[in-house]
Structures are given as C-alpha cells and as structure tokens.
Point group: C2
Chain length 402, copies 2
C-alpha cells in the first residue's frame, strides 16, 4: 500500500526487520507532518532540529510526503536569515481533503476541508428528515457528497475519506446507527447506503462536535465534557485529548442522566431524564410554545425580547443541566464543560442558573463552563477535520495513492 | 541510572542515538518481562519467537534482567521437547517487591507482594483513625511499613516502591490528600510524613481497588466502573484498562452524584447525593441501628437473619445505587459495574433492587453488574500490585539498582 522507503536507521541487508522499525518510520512521517502543520512554513533543517532526527533522515521523509501530495515546497526562504537559504515547507493545499457530512433532524450538510484546515467547498439543504426512511435521505446525502467532491477536485484536491455525523447512537463499527429517536431510525447500516468508493466513518454528532472544539476551539482543554443540543441533548467526553467512546460506542449520553428520578417518562424507557427538562421541545412546551422548525431561533428571539415565560423555561432548563452536570463532574472531573450546538445560542439565559446549581452542589470544586464559538457548525467541521487528522496522524496510510 | 546495554539494532559508533532507540530498548525489556510473567517459565528461544526479536537480542535483554534480579533461571527445561534443551526463565521471587499500605477509617494495613504476585508479608492493625491527626497515624504506618520491609528482606526481596491507599480525594501529585472527610483530613502532604527513603505514591482507595479488580479479578473487562464503600461511597472509572483520573485526580466520585436533588444535605455541600442513601451510616440509620465499628458485619449478619428493617434499608440503598449508576452508565457506557469493598459483602440484598432500577431506566441497554471476589482486600492489593506493575512496565527504571 505504501511506497518503500529507506529506513532512517538501516539494518543489515537480509535481516528481518522487527515490527517496531516500520512503526517508527510511520511515526516519523507523522511527526514531520504535525510539525509542519503546527509551525510551518519551515525549512528541512528546522524540521530536523525540532523532531531530533538528522537532516538526511528528514529529507527522505519529506521527499516521500511531497511525492504523495501531503507537503509542498513554497520556494526559497526569505533572505536575511543566517546560513544557506533552504526551501520552505508547508502542508499542501492541493492534496487530500476531508469530506464531512451531517444528517440533522432539519437539514443535510456536506463540506470539504483541506489539510490546512480551510473549508474549500460546502453545501447545505434545509428540510425535515424526521420520520423519513433512511434510503431517500442517504440518496440525497450521496448526491450532495458527489457535488462537494466534484467542487474540491476542480481545486486540485482529492477526497481522503468521508465522515458522517448523525443525531443518535452509533455502534463501534462506525457505520451502524443503532438508534436515532428523532429521525425514528433503528439499526440502520449507513455504510451499505453510501457509495462504496468512499467508505464512511459514522459517529454521533456530539462526538464530532467535541472533536471540533478540541481541534478548532479557543484554548479548549484536553479534558472536557461537551454538551450539545438539537432536539435531544447530546454529550461527549474527551479525556487527555481523546474521545471516550464506551464499550458499545454510546458514552456521553448526558441527555438520559436522571435528574428527578420520579419525573416524566422519557422515550429511552427511563423517567425524569435531563432531556425531559432541557431538550428543545421540553423548553418550548414549558414556555407555552408549539414545537416547529427554527425552534432555537424562536427561543433566542423571544428571550432577547424579554419574554418572561421563555426566561423561566430556560432558567429551569439551566437548573436541570446543573444537576445532571454535577453528577458528570463528580464522575469525570473534567477541566471544563463546553456548551455547543443549539445550547450555545441560548447560553445567555441558561448559564446563570446552570452555574449556580453546579456551584452550590460542588462546594468550590465546580469546573469552568464555557460556550462554544463553533455552535451548530461543530459536528460538520469535526467530521471533516477527523479525516484530515487521520491523514496527519498516519500519512503513510495515504502516501503512494497519487 | 541504568547499566549500558548493546542496542538490539546497533547504530554507527559516535552517531547520536535518537530518543526512540533508547525508548525501544526500554519497551523491549518490558515486553520480555511481561511475556515471561504471563506465559513463563519460557526458554529464551520461546521468548524471542513470541515477541518477534532475534534470539541474540533477547539474550542480551534477558542477561540484563537476570543481573538486575528481575528474572531468574530455573535450570534446564524438561526433556522430551524438540531441539537443544535451554534454560527456563521465570519472573524472580527474590527480586523487587511492591509495598502496599492502606489507611482505613478503622484500620491500617501493609503488605509486600513479589513480582510473581504472591503476598510475602502482611500486617494489619485495627482501631479507629477517625479524628486522629495525620502525624501519629503516619508514624504508626511508617513502623508497620518498616516491619513488612524487614520481613520481605529476610526472604531476599527488596522494596521497589510504596503505594498508599486512602479514603479520600488525592491530588494528581500522588502525595497530597486534598480531602478525606471520614478521617477529617484536609490538604495533608503524606509524602512529607512518610520515610524519604521509600517515597510513596498515594491514591484513593477506590482507585487502587479498581486496579486490583483489573489485574487480579476473574474476567474483569477493560472498561468498567468500580463502586466500593467503606463509610463513604467510592468509585473509580477504568477505560481501556487505564484508570480515568480526571483533571485534579478526583474522577470517580459516584458518592456525590445527586440522586434526589432536593434530598438531605451532604457534607460535600450538595443535597441528595448517593452517599446519603447508600453509604454505610445512611443504611444503618435507615435500619434504625446506631453506627459503630464493624458496621458491615452488623448489617450482613442481621440481613442474613432476615431482619425486615435491614432488608428494607438495603433495598432502598440498592435503588439509589441503581439511579446513580443509570447516570454513570449513560455517561461512560462501561462493559460492567463491579461492586467492591463493603458493598461486596452486602451484595445479596443490594443487587435485586439495584439491577431492577438500572434495567427499567435503560431499556435493554443496562450493563452487567458483578461482585468483587477481592472485597475489602482490593485497595491494599491494588496498591502493592501497582508497584509490581510499574516494575514490569519499565524494568529499566529499577535495573542496575542491585
């Protein structure tokens, strides 16, 4: 699958290479990519000094990455530096692209992000998917993916992978939607319904949203709990910069943490789950409004106009969030809680009661609550960037493809 | 600190070794130790074939481990095997030992465990530590440690490290007890109160208990939630075989998850925490009994005699545990919940209501609840074994000491 390379540390000819030598080469390719990505443009010498390999070893790795379209040379470095001028390296803007897709309850979206993190193509289609069977929705999504891929290819990019965000529980096979109650989908194999030439990685929208926070957020810590909402309440747990997936892939289901154990029945089978108090529909009902489209916009608009019923409903939702988060903070001890998705837009009216509840239950041990800058864009961006990160983390897996 | 070794893959003389070569040697030493530990006695050739290195490379690593007292040769293999007889290797029973200590509310305990996992010395002193200041307790513990170390040394072992389990929150510096409410200790630096020649690693008792389950339990999965009780309710989260510590080291505090948000006040500052319903003292009060020593024995004895009040109190405690665990299972999606510590002895009367509550709230998604075989021995064994595992994981760190 990959082009053979001279090893940075050659062994005697004919000697069997242990697994670790091949692994070291792959790790070194990734170190070069990550270094140029984080600090580029950089000369080969600068890369070598940063990762502690010889210039010759780095040049071999760099040549391979340029041949594969992952790095590009920008021409000679600016004059005025000490030493012989070298060519400057940057992550390629014409190589692989990550294709992200989102199946929302009320929309479909697809985008392409290049290795530099720039969105190069994007398309959104509004309209409800609630109650629609999976086949026509996936057919529509497939057409949007083709449209975005074509647009990316016109810019010299090629799709390195497809990641799909869904509002539901996804199995650890990363293709089966086990349960998406707000779409009314159960046990749907999305892998079989999307084009075989670009096999998708499917994940929960809150999971992709949390990864977007981690990679693109302002000063997001490495340990945090991400809470988001569309119709349901989603959550994701990030520990040491890695998503906690759980045994079946279902970790982070904050929406079904019991808040008032004898409260109203929930679709999950439980009673008094957080979703019954802080989900969009629950808040609309509590404010005396009828759920429809543009739920969040309606709430935010009325709250901004000073609607007392909406204020009270959002205050109560904040209190319920505070109770559920107290339990989560006790279990996980995260550095921060990040509110994303629809919750970000409603934060001004949710946060005061949420923070009060968390503080009074935690005796000075409460953690910071912050609001996502990405808001509802998080899941789509997280999906596309997850493909980009996979290329940066293991460039050898795509090298030699072009 | 370590004896120089020939590299398995020599580089040209004078060339600066990259960090990864040294790291590879350390990893290979660990692979040899773990292989012999898991499958020994084994010949050098068998070790080489299992870890995919040459026999010569393995012999160099093995010689170093024998010189350091970590492996020993058992003499020639049994006849009847194919090929030239080789000497059989086993993990040493006369090398380093892990010293584990436990500060309980009602006892102190210390033990020494050799690299084979055998307890070689053990001492327990009963008597309450509640309200005693840290200094005299630590002085007493230091004397017990000296007694166990002397006993281990008489058997040819030497202490590779000391790990101390405490019933409270421990900072990530692994020496400061931030808060141990049932001892009434706050911000105590145990590192400064224990002998400097054997610097301790201090951790929460539920954390060490969970590691004991992981390493010594029957078929314990790699993802589980450990729940234990002494006076408080402790918890620990293990993900992919690693303890989830949290930002400040406080993760796993299941005892302070809100169960009934407007319930009785808790010492933590919250209301209606799990500990108010399922802690030992709460259960004793609910059963109309006066808390004293031997609380668990009293409850287990009366429950076995058919005491209806005790049955009811334990059933209600099980229900509260089920509510708190529903939240935890939704957040973490573990493969199992393991009840340890005092809860293990009371499991026959807690489990039915606990499992019922978890099942009715989780609609078929509930996870297995199992009962620890180690029970109250878990934290002490986990502490001692954590030292042993550290030696197996990085033998180079102790090699060359003898």
């Amino acid at each position: 699958m990959t082009t053979p390379l001279h090893e940075a540390h050659p062994s005697s000819p004919g000697r069997r290479l242990p697994d670790t030598q091949q692994g070291m080469r792959r790790r070194n390719l990734a170190r070069v990519m990550h270094t140029v990505n984080a600090e580029g443009p950089l000369s080969r010498a600068a890369v070598a000094s940063r990762i502690g390999l010889t210039r010759a070893a780095v040049s071999t790795l760099v040549d391979e990455l340029i041949r594969s379209g992952l790095l590009e040379e920008l021409g000679p470095e600016r004059p005025g530096r000490v030493g012989r001028p070298g060519s400057s390296l940057a992550v390629s803007g014409r190589g692989p692209a990550g294709i992200g897709a989102e199946i929302g309850v009320d929309h479909l979206a697809v985008c392409a992000v290049d290795l530099r993190g720039t969105v190069r193509a994007r398309v959104v289609r509004h309209g409800t998917n609630r109650g629609r069977p999976p086949q026509p929705v996936l057919a529509e999504l497939t057409a949007l993916v083709a449209q975005v891929v074509a647009e990316a290819e016109r810019e010299g990019l090629w799709p390195a992978g497809l990641a799909v965000a869904v509002p539901g529980l996804v199995a650890r096979d990363t293709r089966t939607v086990v349960r998406a109650p707000n779409l009314d989908w159960h046990e749907v194999d999305l892998g079989a319904l999307l084009p075989a030439d670009l096999p998708p990685t499917v994940d929960n929208e809150a999971n992709f949203g949390s990864l977007a926070e981690l990679w693109l957020g302002d000063d997001t810590p490495l340990d945090f709990l991400h809470v988001s909402a569309e119709i349901g309440i989603g959550g994701a747990v990030v520990v040491d910069g890695r998503l906690l997936r759980g045994t079946r892939g279902f970790a982070g289901e904050l929406g079904h943490v019991p808040v008032h154990p004898e409260g109203p029945e929930c679709a999950c089978g439980g009673r008094g789950c957080l979703e019954q108090y802080a989900g969009e529909e629950a808040v609309l009902r509590a404010a005396g409004l009828t759920p429809g489209e543009n739920r969040v916009e309606v709430l935010a608009e009325r709250a901004a106009q000073g609607d007392k019923e909406v204020h009270r409903a959002l205050r109560d939702a904040g209190t319920a969030l505070g109770i559920a988060l107290t339990g989560a903070v006790n279990l996980l001890d995260p550095q921060a809680v990040v509110l994303g998705g629809a919750l970000a837009a409603l934060a001004p009216w949710l946060l005061p009661s949420l923070e009060l509840e968390l503080a009074r239950r935690s005796a000075g041990r409460a953690c910071v609550v912050s609001v996502s800058r990405l808001g509802p864009e998080g899941p789509l961006l997280g999906a596309a960037h997850s493909v980009v990160r996979a290329v940066l983390d293991d460039p050898a897996a795509v090298a030699g493809r072009t």
